[in-house]
Amino acid sequence: MNLDLDQHRQLEALYTEYAQLLDDGPLTQWPELFTEKSLYLVIPRDNYDKGLPLAIMRCESRGMLEDRIRAVQETIMHEPRYLRHQITNISGHLGDTGLISAVANYSVFEVVEGELPKILSVGRYIDLVDPHVDGSPRFVEKRVVYDSVLVPNTIVYPL
């Protein structure tokens, strides 16, 4: 079933908040956009197309998302950098289970301090969203499938 205008607006708001938290923080609140038992995968497109399971980030719960964020902030040695998510072509479809299957295009610009901006990653989100978790939509599953399989150096923050 197609989403009505209100449902679509709520879905868009979820993506807007998602981008804002990753780009401007606080990063520690980003996992709150996911359900407790959510699945978050960042998968190179060639693996996805061939059905190979390897993801470069694999979080099988909100707890694992929190662990990833803590590592980014406290243990990974990396140059200071800023990300800007552009999320477009959002579309959703309400399934019989009451969950929304959503897809969107994304691109992420990265600015490493003192360097020219670059496109860090280009791809699509293939998501499953629960529209009513304490009144707000939350990600149950999120697959970040990136076309840009040759990663410029390294991905530090979630996409």
Binding site: S61, T75, M77
Partner: protein, 412 residues
């Protein structure tokens, strides 16, 4: 001409293998010599896994050094390799990374080659309506693609530009062969997937990094925090006779502060995982080593960190950059839990690895530093001046051994 001059001017510093001139990370002429003497030479380069090309006609396109090659399986089931460029005008024959083909057909003039790289078809070879065509003395056999020598062991494929290279087992040497066989023990492999990155640094910095246990217990706060690698664990550094291959072998410790962690400024002793499934290693090899990092000259790193198994292939692009292609695998008889464990632990090691990100970043910083100071030199003195095997991790011996071989091959 400036680069020609600078190359001819290179004299290795007096410190020998304890001093590395930064010019070898920046000079295009040195890079060219590396491509011809190290990669497109008599060594065995990793090119793929047998499980990637199970059926006749299956192929993968990869690189040895900066040269594109096709690895395929012929109708008899034999693995073949040859240059990925048409004998006619040099056009890249195959642009896909993988696929299945009976013939490789050049898009430009449709010259076609079989699975052995032999030229089988040349359109208009006899002309059209008696006009044109190849000269009388044109022989298809003179235009086959240069074949690669192929050697497989335990499901892993190696290739060489040399017609009759040293036997692979001799090439590795006894110790390195034993550790190779420890992972590739004849069990059927299962392919879990790929990860690729373009690292803005010289390719040798990647080998130095994996041959350097000194940094592992200092830079990698995540590893040390969770006791996965620590300077006070029982460990070994092993080389082959030439110094070109290397092994770092270590064991897991506890999550606690000790003398060995005192110098780590940002150890996170209080970092408890919200979801401990991220690090839930189980013993799977007969010995008690939990980390074995093997470097095989000239282009391969074999990684066993707890239960993540991966091959990292180094593809140099130019003096200041290389591609790193990761292939993650397990065994065909892994249960679902084991596969999940490998996939979870892969969070530590990939183009977004909680641990390997440190290395990618530090290699970029190394190249940034070196680029502007190319007449200077680096120092490799930790653990002394020797190139012998060691029983601890506070050493750069494997880097020294690597450069002793490098200097012989490069005549530098």
């Amino acid at each position: 001409m400036a680069t020609q001059d600078s190359f001819e001017r290179l004299t290795w510093p007096d410190g020998g293998i304890t001093e590395i001139p930064y010019q070898i990370y920046t000079d295009p002429k040195i890079f060219d010599r590396e491509m011809s003497r190290i990669f497109c030479a008599d060594g065995w380069s990793y090119v793929g896994l047998e499980v990637e090309i199970p059926d006749p006609g299956d192929y993968i396109v990869t690189r040895i050094g900066n040269r594109s090659v096709i690895i395929t399986r012929d109708e008899q089931g034999n693995i073949r390799g040859f240059a990925n460029r048409c004998a006619h005008r040099g056009v890249k024959l195959c642009r896909q990374r993988t696929g299945n083909n009976r013939f490789f057909v050049c898009p430009y003039h449709q010259w076609s080659y079989d699975a052995r790289g032999q030229l089988r078809g040349v359109p208009f070879i006899n002309g059209v309506q008696k006009l044109g065509g190849m000269p009388e003395d044109f022989n298809r056999q003179d235009h086959n693609l240069p074949p690669l020598a192929i050697s497989t062991r335990g499901g892993v494929i190696f290739a060489s530009f040399e017609e009759n290279p040293e036997r692979f087992a001799d090439y590795l040497g006894e110790t390195n062969l034993n550790y190779f066989d420890r992972v590739f023990d004849g069990r059927e492999l299962s392919l879990l997937g790929y990860s690729r990155q373009l690292i803005p640094g010289n390719w040798k910095l990647m080998f130095e990094n994996i041959k350097d246990p000194y940094h592992a217990s200092l830079l990698h706060v995540f590893l040390v925090t969770f006791g996965l690698f620590r300077a006070d664990q029982k460990s070994q550094v092993r080389m082959d006779e030439t110094g070109r291959h290397g092994l770092l072998i270590s064991r897991k410790g506890e999550q606690k502060a000790t003398e060995s962690t005192r110098d780590i400024s940002n150890l996170r002793e209080d970092f408890a995982l919200n979801d401990p499934r991220l690090l839930d290693p189980v013993k799977e090899f007969a010995d008690d080593a939990t980390v074995v990092m093997q470097t095989i000259w000239p282009n391969l790193i074999i990684q066993q960190q707890s239960n993540t198994l991966a091959l990292r292939q180094i593809q140099p692009r130019h003096p200041g950059a290389f591609e790193l292609h990761w292939t993650f695998f397990g065994y065909a008889n892994d249960g679902e839990e084991m596969t999940l464990r490998r996939l979870r632990q892969a969070n530590l090691m990939s183009s977004a690895g909680l641990v390997s990100a440190d290395d990618s970043e530090v290699i970029k910083l190394a190249q940034d530093g070196i680029d502007a100071y190319r007449d200077d030199k680096g120092v490799i003195l930790m653990g002394g001046r020797g190139v012998e095997d060691e029983e601890h991790m506070v050493t750069e011996v494997a880097i020294r051994a690597f450069y002793s071989h490098y200097r012989r091959i490069m005549e530098l």
